[in-house]
Amino acid sequence: MMTFLAGRIGTGLIILFLLTTLVFFIGYAAPGDPVMLSGGVTMSASTIFQLRHEMGLDQPLLTRYARWIGQVVTGDFGYSVRQQRPVKEAILDVLPCTFSLAGGAIVLELIIGLAIGTAAARFRSGTIDRVLSTVSLVIYTVPAFWLGIMLLSVFSYGLGLFPSSQLQSINGGGNSTLESLADRIWHLGLPWLTLAVPGAGAIARYFRDSLITVRGEEYVLFARSRGVSPKTIFLSYELPNAVGAVIAVLGTEIGALLAGVVVTETVFALPGMGRLAMTAILTRDYPLIMGCTIFAGAVVIVGNLLADVAHGFIDPRVRLA
């Protein structure tokens, strides 16, 4: 298991290095001046010159890259031009929002996906299966921005049941912790749905197919012939074997989830990583772009690693492969 883990971590670090190097050079090759984009129109030429010097924008590209790598190795991600504070601080500030958004969405995605997949497998080849399979295909292909806007139109602007933006109400939604928590959940309701629904479609389809395959396995047929209860067969034989495919899908879904986070946070004006990265890109805030890239890359790599480890625990054949 240790060799398996070491191998995966090593590969992950190499990918992260290549990713950040690529983003660094592409980012700097893009036209546009961060000083101009952060209000340079109102500054004199001498002030602009000085700011560009302070940001190191007058240095050769390779010098900037070497300096940046040197800083990152020591845990210093630099200073955000637009936010005017350390990149690390800016990212740490928005992490709770992104984690609560993505975490809640994964849970919801699993609940919806597994429920649809189970029901479809239970009524295999019947009308319910066909309807659920079509539904899961449709929701899998729904773009997150469209879904978000539709949910906003109906449940926020139309029915007034959910807030249309922000992570919390003015003044935190109340005085007690419980009120504050309820307020957060209320604000995250639609964003969770927006992020979870497409992923749930994928999980439903994978889980249905996996469950049907497992149901045809000899050990399930044997258990059934021995008179083991359907509930025990489902929980002890079918679910652990079928869920492996879902975990593998979840690992690959993390990248898509992060992309969805950018859209969802923008649509619902949530203060998370996605919006931070978006703002950084639009204002050419290179240190912040790089910080967000490292973070996003690390999340995808760690997510995949965790999915591999979990899959390995459930199915020892993966560990040996």
């Binding site: 893009a30 546009g32 952060s38 504070r85 926020s156 203060p271």
Partner: protein, 567 residues
Amino acid sequence: MTNHITHHSVRWWVAFAICLMFGILLLYNGCSRKRSSAAKDYVVVGIEGDVDTFNPLYAEDANASDIIDLVFPSMTRTTFDSSRGAITQIPSLARSWEFLNSGKDILFHLRSGARWADGSAVNAEDVQYSYIMYADTSVGSVRQDAASAFLKSGTIPDVRKSIEVKDDSTVIFHFDHLYAGELFDAGLPLLPSHLYEKIERNKIHQDSSLRIPVGAGPFNVKEWKPLQDIILTPNTESTLPHPGRYSQIIFRIIPDYYQRLAQIRSGEIDVLPYIEIADADALIRDKVAVQIYRLGPRFYDAINWNNIDGIEYAKSKGKHIIPNKLFGNKKIRQALTMAINRKQIIDAFFRSYGRVAFSPISPMFRWAYNDSIRPLSYNPDSAKKLFAAAGWKDTDGDGILDKDGKKFSFVLKIPSGNQVRAQIAAIVQEQLKAISVDMKIEQQERGAFWGAIMDKNFDACIAGFNVPLQMQLDELWGGDLQKSRFNIPSFQNIRIDEILAGARQVSQETDYAPQWKEFQRIIEHEQPCTFLYWQTDLVAANNRIHHANIDALGITYNAADWEEAPR
């Protein structure tokens, strides 16, 4: 069988209880939201993006500057006299002042009793210290230029010599020459020296202890939730001029315009800056409880013709300036303006909120605006004649003018994401096609667009500016293209340079009106760019806000006076 039913019942009840809990949660939140909107003692301003910093030394963002004005003290405050169309300075920390030494010095008498939010007194030392910080190159303030007219030691502004502290309540500003902006430059936000002095100067930029500022103005920054909310509360100790009357002014960051619009309709936000004309009409039509305020006009859009050969300029690093082969001739620029129907564009997009522009001086500055000028009118036939007189004819019958083998064909760059500009570009394209001029449109991402413009790597572009309240146009129209980086058309004219230089030497800005009127005549005659329109910005504000005198100065400049309207 009984057990089976019991298990099913339990599961059913658990599911039902969870659904019920969520239902109650939603209802509870919905009801409390309605309750809170009925009894609001705060104002929510919906803004598009987060601010950069509240440190006056480094703030570049417009919203940050507005908030800084509400939080930090200053010697003077700017007001706008709409009858004269001119800005004036009124007392703030300085209760009065007198001009000495033929106007080159100003003696300020400071108000007593002004205190920083932490209880320390605001004194004359703070005034001198603040300007030392602004001028110090190791601090790297974006407002260094405010000290450019101070007395110098060599070539460097000497703030200690320029700002003389006579006693705790008397300060004298010495300038090295007389100019109209003396009071304006003396009105920068003041810094609490007792807090800033603790930090090494070259570390101030990155010091997190200054993130939430300590001011002496009518409001304190209570909380700054990045990408969410900025919450201001009244500074109960403020005497500059008095504590804010609302219990909170909240700047709510909502990037999407349509969400902000929906929220002003629902009453979630109370002030919506820069609302589109059709949406303002709809709010009035639907009897939403808002009032629409007009700002300015302070914004103009123009088609900037590159007057010089941008490639040659870049190749020679600015040393070799030759006229652009297409736009270097003023007759051609006049013809292009005459070929564009600006009135039609304004009628289509801005109605009564737009006005044909002919120079960078806004009609809101009545004292300087030259209303005797009649802008070139739409006349494609005259435009064709001017082209023909300059030797541009369609010799090969392909529908495009040509001269010496070169076709009159160019690219108009516009920044992406602005639908109005994109549509205007399409209209202009059609109108120029009618006089056999070929124009292609290229939309570029904002960063890439400005990169190309600054490098002078363009034929023509649509770009606009918010004009400053002070008549300072050197950066935009000065002939030294290295210094005047925002002279987008790269227009050079000796008389214009003389007028700009003279404007820096007058004691009263309004005394310079004749020269500014001449400036406009030259610009109108030379047509360095085709000024399209002045655009009046609209702001929607809830009727419940009393004294929301939103005008050319901005949206929240008098937020200290805002209060709940009598019901």
